[in-house]
């Protein structure tokens, strides 16, 4: 039998990565619009963020449906037109809110990890 796994207990690092991935996507789109392939490669270059590139697309699809990003077709210097992703106002707000929380969270964890809690 397949043991029922408990996602809350299993691989907390993987859970954390998964939870932050969508904000990494939003952050990559903060200053410029990007097409899917470019976005995926940029994420792939971040160490330990993505293991298989294809799994980014369901996330992009979800972000688009939630109205955090929009897509528009644009010309490509080589080959067929590309689908460009751009941050919406709602996406920018979500990113800013996360960035604030993240800073607090990171500082608190760093503080403990460096032995400051003693």
């Amino acid at each position: 039998m397949v043991a029922r796994r408990n996602p809350a207990r299993e691989a907390p690092i993987a859970q954390m990565r998964r939870g932050t991935l969508e904000y990494c996507v939003l952050a990559l789109l903060r200053d410029e619009e990007r097409y899917g392939f470019d976005l995926v490669r940029a994420l792939g270059e971040l160490d330990g963020m993505v293991t298989s590139e294809g799994t980014i697309y369901p996330l992009l699809s979800r972000l688009r449906r939630d109205g955090l990003v929009t897509t528009t077709w644009g010309e490509s210097p080589s080959g067929p037109p590309r689908r460009y992703y751009r941050l919406t106002d709602a996406g920018r707000e979500a990113l800013d809110a996360f960035a604030r929380e993240w800073t607090r969270f990171r500082d608190a964890v760093d503080h403990l990890m460096e032995g400051g809690g003693r």
Binding site: V50, G54, T55, S61, R82
Partner: protein, 208 residues
Amino acid sequence: MAKAPDDLIAAYLRRLADELRDLPKPRRTELVEEIREHIAEARTGLPSQDEVDVRNLLERLGDPGDIAAEARERFGIPPAKSGAREILALIFLPIGGVLLPFLGWFVGMALLWTSRVWTSRDKWIGTLLFPGGLAVPFFLAVFATSGGSCPTVSGGTRVIQTTCTGGPSGPEQALVVAGMIVLVVVPIATFVYLLVRLRRRTEVPALP
């Protein structure tokens, strides 16, 4: 066996569409399209267009099953669970035709093709290997043991001649036995395959 890169990509996208069958159609179409675009874009940057490069490209994209598991999770769609339908299909496909001559296998077929758990590829394997399931070797065996007839010609009280037909011997018999083994083993192997696929699909998807 060497494969054309275009065929590899087409097969990959077909598998992806198949694995994504639980998603609403617009989501599924969108994902397959985006991944098709990704592949096209990635190919323009490849040093060559040979099989190895394309295989590496698809490897980097990841297994269609993993992409589909991720998509289900992102859209909050629970993975299809196997239930009574799948269990009955697994019973009826191999032995349905024995329990309920001929008809039983078609019951198994109906259950197999209406299941949401198996992929189309699984369903074709379940259908073609072999139609009828174990009913075919079963009825062949029944026919063979009763079919080898030995009519006895009697004249008065004396037996004149006994002719036996239908009892092949030597290499012919070995061939028949080998054929029977194939007819028995293949449906059982198909059963095991479908069972394994069922368990694989029902597992909680791995985190990316």
